[in-house]
Symmetry: C2
Subunit: 364 residues, 2 copies
């Protein structure tokens, strides 16, 4: 895809329209949707041009329909355009691949890990894919140029391609996306019959846990229906931990004692380990930082002095957060550094008269 | 508390130190902690002055110790300071109240709904309580002036007091805080043995759901141990929904069909209803907005014209978000208005030549 090509996007919802917006400056984008009004809106938004009977045959077809019709749409595209490469962006991959028939060597599945709470063309954003993983799913007969093309498209819109088999992909998204979605919904479902006064006590924790619980039931039913085995495996794993937890909490309740406390501590500390494994923003390896907390007097020039002296000590500051509130005579600077540099920095700053509040290592 | 008084804060962790920071500009704050180093750090941060043998008797004692020692500390304070009012800020209320003995008419429990992921004095913030609910828990023999004093303290630090019984409080926090914490940890726990490549696909949804899974196991064991009956009730409710969900997903997997889809749709749509019941930021009733999406040409002055014309139509704009990406020739303005004003606004803008992309009602 080094040169401009003709790309047909079938399905102009959130992903299709966002792709059109991101790709249309370089390529000729044809837009097609089962609903002509939806395709027209995508065109109005600048995502490309609606297809007509006169439209040229595309070099690449991107199927961005709902997952339950993705395979049929891929097959139709392979038949209609015998020279085109075809990909789809459905969030499940094994069932689509299983149903792709004649021409499957020109097909490579893919899944950009990008989305929004809102759906539809109107929520589209050409920047949606920037910095996001884009799974590319080669299969035993896929042509190397098809794999290469899908990877380039991913990179052109700012994503970074990750190759995985369909089975590995489906198992991974069950764990990092499908089950978390269902669990978020399960938490939110406990609020349906809650007294309103309880809800007045809702804090940021509840809001974070339930943010994705506003998702579309129809879309998610289709997604889970496309990946039920992997999802069931992980849900059973959750139920087994939940059973132990309930046993422990019931023991606490009955014996009015700390007997069941180990089961609670186990769930929370397993959670600590699990959450620490989630990689940094850009999908690389877990970032391990050390953070040095320094008290900074609330006087002009102190923060500048801190920076200068950290530089003198020869430590590269990865990140710095200054916490401060009006009521305090000092602020606290949280300086993130490579773990090997934490002690030299803390020692050097203490020598220069700074108060080190603490040094924390973030485990990966 | 209209006038400055002497307040003793026992326990200078996150909450105690934050309270000291927020209250010390107006009141004399005495700081006490089982760990002298912790109290010294709180003093260094500006939260007040460490107690000595010469410290005056306080007018008010705020117990901010871990919940498992809160009742003992409250009882000690009631005995040591026979004229003082006493409150505690533990996150469970019935077990503390049950153990408070002589002088209990001077005791009123409370629970500021404020926290951070990090704990300890070093994470303290005098602004921690601003805009947050602060539950005040009167009991059958509590003195009216004790209730009034705790409410005023809540308001002085920017919180808004909500009166509840200890039982209602404990049931509410089980639902909006304790169970969501455990569920977040259960999701994160599924990541412990995940292949690293799965974790590369982690998106914002997983990060939100598991943000609070980094919480301290020891603290949370103590919290759950203080509220096991309410927590067990809701966990059983979750397990019952999870059982139905697993049945449905297993049916999907075995029959390779959409037979079990209703159970998935039910969980997601119950979640939709539940999450829509979470009130807005300041704890009021759920905010119901309508949002009118308008296409805005990417030309200077267009947004100003949109504002002016909405004003002419006589509609008060509650919120406006402009979405725009470099690749697009138009932006989209999402205008939030009172639901009754959505149609007049959309009609009036269309008359004036604007393109209305959609109108969405947010259900409460």
């Amino acid at each position: 895809m080094g040169r401009p090509v003709i790309i047909r996007i079938i399905g102009t919802g959130l992903l299709g329209t966002s792709l059109g917006l991101a790709l249309s400056p370089r390529h000729e984008i044809q837009l097609e949707d089962a609903s002509p009004m939806t395709a027209a809106l995508a065109q109005d938004l600048g995502a490309g041009t609606e297809v007509t009977d006169e439209s040229a045959a595309p070099d690449l077809v991107i199927v961005a329909t709902p997952p339950d019709v993705a395979a049929d749409t891929v097959n139709r595209a392979l038949t209609d355009f015998p020279d085109a490469l075809v990909t789809d962006v459905a969030s499940v991959k094994a069932i689509v691949l299983a149903e792709v028939g004649s021409g499957r060597e020109r097909y490579v599945g893919s899944h950009p890990m990008a989305g929004r709470e809102r759906s539809g063309a109107i929520a589209a954003d050409g920047d949606l894919f920037i910095g996001r993983p884009w799974v590319v799913v080669p299969h035993e007969t896929s042509r190397p140029d098809a794999v290469e093309t899908v990877k380039r498209i991913a990179m052109e819109v700012g994503g970074f391609p990750i190759e995985m088999s369909a089975a590995a992909h489906d198992s991974a998204v069950a764990r990092v996306s499908h089950v978390p979605q269902l669990m978020s919904s399960l938490v939110a479902a406990t609020l349906v019959d809650a007294p309103p006064s309880s809800l007045d006590l809702a804090g940021q924790g509840l809001r974070d846990v339930t943010r994705i619980a506003g998702s579309d039931p129809k879309l998610w039913s289709t997604i889970i229906a496309g990946n039920p085995s992997s999802v069931a495996d992980i849900l059973r794993e959750v139920r087994s931990r939940l059973d132990s937890l309930i046993d422990g909490v019931e023991t606490m309740a009955e014996q009015n004692a700390y007997t069941g406390v180990a089961s609670v501590a186990k769930v929370i500390s397993d959670g600590n380990i699990g959450v620490s494994r989630i990689p940094g923003k850009h999908g690389g390896a877990p970032v391990r930082y050390a953070t040095v907390y320094v008290l900074v007097p609330d006087k002009p020039g102190e923060l500048g002095r801190l920076f200068t002296e950290a530089g003198e000590i020869g430590v590269n500051i990865e990140d710095l957060t200054l916490e401060h509130s009006a009521a305090q005579p000092v602020g606290r600077a949280a300086i993130s550094v490579n773990p090997s540099r934490a002690k030299p920095l803390a020692d050097g700053l203490e020598e220069r008269g700074w108060t080190i509040a603490s040094v924390e290592m973030e485990e990966s």
